[in-house]
């Protein structure tokens, strides 16, 4: 089981001495219902400050939650959970002047808050927009006590933070919290270096894709694309729909 800490280079413990896992996630967009349980779960478990989110669920095709895109006759909307992609070829890592952003041997991209100087070059470099900079002192004013896991790190002003693939839970042999709490069972987590792992098999069988592959970031998060025909004719259009009018994506 891999150990990843923010204050020193990780010690990799693996059942096979010559095998280093590459932790990865698969998200099935056919199952995601946009409920935001993973987003809120992450926020609570990591005791994120007021206004801070590491994980968000966006609506594909619209600017707001559940806003459909497409036409009135053929609307479509899917949900896209989005957090750090833990890229193999992470642009954030390349631009970090202090080495605060680093990658563990088992594939987690993490931030050492002690080394982060808040220059925000990483935020400019990240094409996924998943990093957060704490310009102000992080506030926790909704409750007068801390929330979440005992291992959740304190949040500091002047540094960048983001999803850690729940490194603290991986240490205990647990899945990331978002994987655990998803009520639609849309998230899967495991070893991308193991061709027999569930995630590896899903990627192959379901043709899972990464976001913006053309950028060469090589994310560790894969998405099973929406597969079914989604025409959802609306209102009276349903009466006039012919087979020839159905658009297959």
């Amino acid at each position: 089981m891999a150990v990843a800490e923010t204050e020193q280079k990780p010690i990799v413990i693996s059942p096979k001495p010559d095998h280093i896992p590459h932790w990865g996630m698969v998200i099935d967009l056919n199952r995601c219902i946009g409920c935001e349980t993973c987003a809120v779960g992450c926020k609570i478990k990591n005791n994120l400050a007021d206004g801070v989110w590491w994980n968000r669920v966006l609506t594909i095709g619209g600017d707001g939650l559940d806003v459909a895109d497409g036409s009135v006759e053929q609307p479509r909307a899917y949900a896209l959970p989005l957090s750090c992609q833990h890229c193999e070829n992470a642009p954030c890592l390349k631009v970090c002047p202090t080495g605060a952003t680093y990658r563990t041997a088992d594939g987690l991209v993490l931030i050492d808050y002690n080394k982060c100087i808040g220059c925000r070059a990483c935020i400019q470099a990240c094409p996924y927009g998943v990093r957060i900079f704490n310009e102000e002192q992080p506030k926790h004013e909704y409750t007068d006590f801390d929330l979440g896991a005992a291992e959740a790190l304190p949040h500091e002003q002047g540094v960048v933070e983001k999803c850690t693939f729940c490194a603290d839970r991986l240490e205990q042999g647990l899945d990331p919290f978002c994987v655990d709490v998803c009520p639609a069972r849309a998230r899967f987590f495991g070893d991308l270096n193991d061709p027999d792992s569930e995630v590896s098999q899903l990627i192959e069988e379901r043709h899972a894709e990464t976001l913006h592959p053309e950028l060469g970031t090589k994310p560790s998060v894969y998405y099973i694309p929406p597969e079914k025909v989604r025409t959802h004719p609306t209102g009276l259009d349903r009466l006039q729909l012919n087979a020839a009018d159905v658009v297959h994506e």
């Binding site: 809120v40 707001g64 559940d66 806003v67 459909a68 497409g70 009135v72 209102g235 009276l236 259009d237």
Partner: protein
């Protein structure tokens, strides 16, 4: 027979002077809110109103007295619902501050009214008795065992097929297409109770248009949008309207309609609009959403009045009911949407004290 379907109401020997609300956000969830606020809650009609409530919601704001009650984590209870399970609600922490459970409050009131003989058992003893009686009625002792051991019991087998013996709960015992008179809901309770044909119901299946939301309604020319109030993922009715984390993600009420309807009115995303009909209004932001067909719009259910710039969505609904079901028709509503004129409809004035919103002007 006098009752909600009676043509001639019976005089009652007593006048209702007071009301206690519990386990409900009555002023928010029932339709035609202006009538509720201005008529039902008028002091001429109800002199004294009490709310057993956790939060300062629409109902609490209307009441003379709010008694703080326990949340689901602070008292024992037994919970069923529209599913085949009975579940135990277990108290996890002591009640906070001066909260009491509904049970304690009603027990206390009953004692003052000389009715303490009904409250001799503890909640736990009542729960044990209830689950025992359910197990007896369903002739399945397993229910009581499962409940005591696991805190949850399944009342019906998963493979239940209703009416599998072919016996329908009609006077003939068969499915009836021709029914003289309308059979009241829940035939298990009154299988042969019918309203007579002379009350105007045709005996064969037929179509009747909605009460209001229909293009042939003369009102449609003035109010050409059907108003839906979709149940948001972030509510159970109005519960969770005030959870700060959810408000970060879903900060304010919105009225949504598709791009055709937006274009017809010259509106853009983020404009503040007034949604109105002859019963009331709501002032809030508008957003394009092609999920909605032409001639429809939506305001998610569950927002409280103080979360709107003015008015509230429940002002727009109608209390009209029909004889076929026991609920209100919240979507059988027509509205129109126009840009907001703050001089014509001034905003509700909200002050922040201790981080909480207090309505200063503009009423509830």
């Amino acid at each position: 027979m006098a009752g909600p379907r009676s043509k001639e109401p019976e005089e009652v020997p007593y006048t209702i002077k007071a009301a206690i609300f519990s386990c409900a956000n009555f002023a928010s969830n029932f339709p035609n809110q202006n009538r509720i606020l201005n008529e039902i809650f008028d002091e001429k009609n109800l002199e004294f109103v009490v709310d057993l409530e956790m939060f300062m919601n629409d109902t609490a704001r209307m009441c003379d007295l709010v008694l703080p009650i326990t949340s689901w984590f602070e008292n024992d209870d037994i919970v069923g619902g529209m599913h085949p399970f009975m579940m135990r609600q277990e108290r996890a922490i002591d009640p906070i501050g001066e909260c009491k459970s509904d049970f304690e409050i009603y027990k206390g009131l009953s004692e003052k009214l000389g009715l303490s003989q009904y409250w001799v058992k503890t909640p736990q003893a009542f729960i044990d008795e209830i689950i025992h009686n359910i197990a007896q009625a369903l002739q399945n002792p397993q229910i009581e065992e499962d409940f005591k051991r696991d805190g949850v019991a399944r009342l019906m087998p998963p493979a239940l097929i209703p009416l599998q013996d072919g016996k329908y709960m009609t006077p003939s015992g068969r499915a009836e297409f021709y029914a003289e008179g309308v059979v009241v809901n829940w035939p298990a309770i009154q299988p042969s109770f019918r309203l007579p044909v002379d009350m105007g119901f045709a005996p064969l299946p037929h179509f009747e248009p909605p009460y209001e939301a229909w293009h042939e309604n003369p009102k449609f020319a003035q109010y050409p949008l059907v108003l839906n109030q979709r149940h948001s993922r972030f509510r159970v009715h109005t519960t969770y309207y005030n959870v700060p984390v959810l408000r970060e993600m879903d900060p304010e009420p919105l009225v949504e309609m598709n791009e055709h309807e937006m274009a017809r009115r010259g509106l853009r995303d983020g404009d503040i609009v007034r949604v109105y009909n002859d019963r009331g209004q709501a002032v809030l932001k508008v957003r394009t959403n092609n999920a909605y067909p032409d001639h429809t719009c939506n305001i998610n259910k569950g927002w409280q009045r103080h979360q709107f710039i003015a008015g509230g969505y429940q002002e727009l609904t109608t209390e009209h009911v029909n004889y076929r079901h026991y609920n209100c028709s919240f979507f059988d509503v027509l509205v129109e949407v126009e840009p907001w004129n703050p001089e014509k409809v001034p905003p509700r004035s909200i002050e922040e004290h201790d981080g909480k919103a207090h309505i200063v002007k503009g009423g509830v």
